[in-house]
Symmetry: C2
Subunit: 209 residues, 2 copies
Amino acid sequence: MGGDETATSKAPRTERGKRTLRKLLDAAAAEFGERGYHEASISGITQRAGAALGTFYTYFDSKEQVFRALVDDMGHLTRQHIAERVPGNVDRLTAERLGLEAFIEFVREHKDLYRIVMEAQFVAEDAYLNYYKVFAAAYTRNLAQAAEKGEIRPGHEEERAWALIGMSVFLGMRYAVWSSDKPAKEVAAAAAELITFGLSPLARGGGGN
Amino acid sequence: MGGDETATSKAPRTERGKRTLRKLLDAAAAEFGERGYHEASISGITQRAGAALGTFYTYFDSKEQVFRALVDDMGHLTRQHIAERVPGNVDRLTAERLGLEAFIEFVREHKDLYRIVMEAQFVAEDAYLNYYKVFAAAYTRNLAQAAEKGEIRPGHEEERAWALIGMSVFLGMRYAVWSSDKPAKEVAAAAAELITFGLSPLARGGGGN
DNA sequence: CTGTAACTTGAATATTGACTCAGGTTTCGA
DNA sequence: TCGAAACCTGAGTCAATATTCAAGTTACAG
């Protein structure tokens, strides 16, 4: 559970090596993102990176291993990006809105990597599971804390966490991966309103009957 | 948009042929469901079906074609199952709860096929897109109608539709595909409560401040 | 019964692409 | 400057498997 690099005896030892590794990682992200895991080829990756085929195996043990590395990377990047955009001291409902907004923007800027995360479900299921379990656990905790403070109604934290993650993921897929037609702010606002008040006509100053 | 079989000159013409086709479809669902598209092999399918390798190509043009056939099939089955469990005359919020409940149950009974739908995103993106677009369109329409009747607050129907689908999908994944620990009813109830009232502590008779 | 269309069979073909390896080239500390 | 460690190269190996096909077998209309 630490933060090791995926342990290999393959870490680069010189500047040149570091540069090459980085080129390969970027190339792999592009190749996997564009063509999907199985269509992607190692030779495609090395061509993009401007390296020879064999060089790949200087830094990675297998095709699957790079893929996993990219999934883990994406987890860190996502959490980091969201954390940066969501101040620690706002209430939960505001945090939800800002978080979703940040998430959609992030996906838009990293479509390739995001596609990789989604495909991980079928290529490296445990990495995928882990990716979302970490999110779900954090989410569940945040909801429970917010409930204690009276910022939200308590109960069903786990189910809510998964439901909210599902919302984010699908809104991300629809409004970031497939099309960026609507501003992230707008989509996030609509979702936040749903999350906050639900669909009930009685909510808010809601009228009669 | 009709209900054609996936047009082939390959439809069976005798009873024996029909039986074989069915065996192959069932075997394909199992093989793809268990091993995923790329790990699955035609010979695996024909072995499960108790048929010779070449027989497969009597009924299908390619591996991808069976896969697509299964995705389409799943769309029909899902909609049908949900429609059966959700009476036409209940209000929207009740329909949401019953629909989600039916969906989770359905996924539990068809894990294989459901996995196939999810994987379609990477194998047959257009089939996948179509699967969800049909859902989203129907959903958007239902929400708009409910809004007109005053059953829910109006606005943002499309975003809401995708958000709600995302909820269902992730709850299905977590509580049906990955584990069936909690009863579908319970999960559906928790989600329905979220959808209806949101997280706001002010909703319902909800207390002060 | 009989002929033929429908169906079945599984060995053979063809392609693809992950991974290896033996032989260079570059880097960098001493 | 020198040499060993690090790094790079890309042709070749090898296994996997989607798809084809020519030779049977079965169903069934007439």
